[in-house]
């Protein structure tokens, strides 16, 4: 133990102690620094248009790419679709995740809890692309869903390659994240508080509305932020379940970078996405306050 302390004294003398915190922050700062560097490079390339004759970026700086994004109706539609998709995904995911995690946290039967956890995690392990394939099979015209509908006499309907299918896929994909973020928030609510609400005259619905949801608010907001940003920037679900007709921003960026090789336009779209995501987070934080997220400070 003594030897260890002596070594420590040489490597990190006591007078350096006040800087220990900064030293520990270094890896994170490096990582963020790299990201910022990348962002600057993106910003730079977004200011050059692609010269179609030489397939090289233009020499001079121009806002042409941004004009394209703003003026081209296709991109407007894609941005609007991404935002709407993200908002709907957040709404439905939280709607499903709240009761799911509530039952998981509150059930007195450990068997029920285990079943809920396993059901939650199995698809989690499989990965997004494989899951999207699974959904393709289930929702296909001859898939399980349509077969089931057929049993009650409904004609096969097209469940895939439309906007609801993408949102469905996203919700299905996001549910474990949301449950994982909500569970600790719900665990933190003492059971006694709900018993108290009941003894004061609240039925379970009132108790849920006036006590559980307000007390779980930090968890709900955190989960909403994570689900919202992940959905807004998602690639696989719109690509696979949308079948090319339901592109989100990430798909458009992919196309620019890897199909048309128009780096400038791709970069402009990417920066738009960064701005959109930041605005979304900023709005949520300004409405609810950083304090509710447990980040200190008052509302």
């Amino acid at each position: 133990m003594d030897a260890l302390n002596r070594t420590l004294d040489i490597v990190w003398p006591a007078r350096m102690m006040p800087y220990t915190g900064w030293a520990l922050l270094m890896p994170a700062l490096l990582l963020v620094g790299l990201l910022v560097l990348g962002l600057f490079q993106m910003a730079d390339s977004s200011l050059h248009t692609l010269d179609r004759s030489t397939f090289l970026p233009s020499e001079n700086y121009t806002l042409e790419n941004y004009r394209t994004v703003v003026e081209n109706a296709t991109y407007g539609k894609i941005i609007w679709r991404s935002v709407l998709g993200a908002v709907l995904t957040v709404f439905f995911t939280l709607l499903l995740a709240l009761p799911y995690s509530y039952i998981m946290v509150r059930t007195s039967s450990s068997a029920v809890r285990k079943v809920l956890l396993v059901t939650l995690f199995l698809p989690f392990f499989i990965g997004q692309v494989v899951r999207a394939y699974g959904l393709l099979i289930i929702l296909g015209t001859t898939g399980v869903a349509n077969n089931a509908l057929g049993l009650v006499g409904v004609e096969p309907i097209r469940l895939l390659f439309n906007f609801p299918a993408v949102v469905f896929g996203l919700v299905q994909y996001m549910l474990p994240f949301a449950v994982l973020m909500l569970a600790p928030a719900l665990t933190a609510i003492p059971r006694e508080t709900e018993t108290a609400a009941a003894s004061l005259g609240a039925n379970w619905l009132q108790s849920f509305r006036h006590v559980v949801i307000p007390m779980a608010k930090p968890g709900l907001i955190g989960a909403g932020l994570v689900v919202g940003t992940l959905a807004l920037t998602d690639f696989a679900m719109p690509a696979m379940l949308g079948g090319g007709s339901q592109d989100f921003i990430a798909n458009a960026i992919y196309d620019q970078f890897f199909r048309t090789a128009d780096q400038g336009l791709g970069a402009a779209l990417a920066l738009m996405l960064v701005v959109l995501g930041s605005v979304f987070v900023a709005i949520v934080i300004s409405i609810f306050g950083a304090g509710t997220l447990g980040m200190g400070g008052k509302k």
């Binding site: 006694e192 009941a198 003894s199 004061l200 007390m215």
Partner: protein, 377 residues
């Protein structure tokens, strides 16, 4: 195991109303050990009952069954004649203050107090006045807009009480709500409970393991141990006339002497006859255990200085403990080897009269030593 019914406290005209009645209530969590074992009692309207017992004696379990949060495995509990459990919890008229208070942290003090009124659909126009009235009652007028985490422990306690009382429940239940407070604040809140309870006249059941609290606040006390009701009596009676050795030992500080019962109800230990009175059915020759409280033993330099005492013994000081307002001596009587007596001695001026090893005399009056049948029999 005396099970005193509330009947003995009936006023002369006999007009008494029973608020809570438990008959042969048991709770089996499985595993064969009963958390509550055949508990029966009655509580009159407007009275303050304390359930007192050591940790794990089944107090909380009994209280939760009365509140209807848990269903007993045997027996019946009625509140104002109606069986508990007939209505879901939110339809019952029971105010409860929980051990960890269970206040709503996202609401202000006033919103907490208003919560039951809103849930129970009180006329919205009357709610603010009512909330203010009850905040005044618990001496928190002007604190209504504070958030719960902006209040001190004692103030939070008061909010919890106001919240439990504001809808005028038939019954108020308190589950050790004072346990977390420091001694000074706890004593202050005990008197506060008493004042509020007298002011409103609400029937109250309080759970505690603090004997002082039980004696200070209660009209009636039930002592529990191992899930069984050991004694149900008024505070003074419980303290002065315990009906079994557990109660004698749990309240106050007692010393115990073991022996056999004599024909005239005293205790025989070896050659020595120890004078006392027998409680319960003690017949000649049965093994008995006797208890006497520390403040009921007199202590002096020598036997003549004891004054008139029916029982007198020579003893030696084994240890002395200074407790501030009094001195406690642990002494051993020469004629009762192996038995130690704990004796309080008030000496407002001196600095401790006796030292370890000093020869002393102890004595008591016959009525103060209680002789019980030995529990093992």
């Amino acid at each position: 195991m005396t099970d005193r019914s509330a009947a003995q406290y009936a006023p002369a005209d006999g007009a008494r109303e029973i608020a809570v009645r438990a008959s042969h209530v048991s709770m089996d969590f499985g595993g064969g050990v009963l958390a509550v074992d055949d508990a029966s009692f009655e509580l009159e309207k407007g009275r303050f009952l304390t359930i007192l017992g050591p940790s794990g004696s089944g107090k909380t379990t009994l209280l939760r069954m009365i509140a209807g949060f848990q269903k007993q495995t045997a027996g019946e509990i009625t509140i104002n004649g109606k069986a508990v459990g007939a209505a879901p919890p939110h339809r019952r008229s029971i105010g409860m203050v929980f051990q960890r208070l269970a206040l709503f942290p996202h609401m202000t003090a006033a919103e907490n107090v208003a919560f039951p009124l809103k849930m129970r659909r009180f006329d919205p126009r009357t709610i603010p006045d009512r909330v203010n009235g009850f905040l005044e009652l618990v001496k928190l007028g002007g604190y209504g807009n504070r958030r719960i985490n902006e209040l001190s422990g004692g103030q939070q306690q008061r909010v919890a009480i106001a919240r439990a009382l504001v809808f005028e429940p038939d019954l108020l239940l308190l589950d050790e709500p004072l346990a977390a407070l420091d001694v000074k604040l706890r004593e202050e809140m005990q008197l506060e409970f008493r004042r509020i309870q007298h002011e409103l006249g609400v029937t109250t059941i309080n759970v505690t393991h603090d004997q002082r609290e039980a004696l200070v606040v209660s009209d009636d006390i039930i002592v529990m141990d191992g899930g069984r009701i050991q004694q149900h009596a008024k505070p003074v009676e419980l303290y002065r006339a315990p009906t079994n050795p557990f109660v004698a030992g749990f309240l106050g500080l007692s010393s115990f002497v073991e022996g056999k019962a004599t024909a005239d109800g005293d205790l025989q230990s070896g050659d020595l006859k120890v004078l006392g009175v027998s409680a319960g059915d003690v017949t000649e020759g049965v093994p008995v255990i006797a208890a006497i409280r520390a403040e009921q033993i007199r202590l002096a330099r020598s036997a003549p200085a004891l004054g008139a005492c029916e029982m007198q013994l020579d003893a030696t000081v084994i240890d002395t403990i200074f407790e501030g307002e009094r001195q406690m001596y642990i002494v051993e009587a020469a004629s009762l080897p192996g038995t130690t007596f704990r004796v309080y001695h008030h000496d407002p001026e001196g600095f401790g009269l006796f030292d370890i090893g000093d020869p002393v005399a102890i004595g008591w009056n016959r009525r103060d030593l209680k002789i019980f049948r030995h529990a093992a029999e």
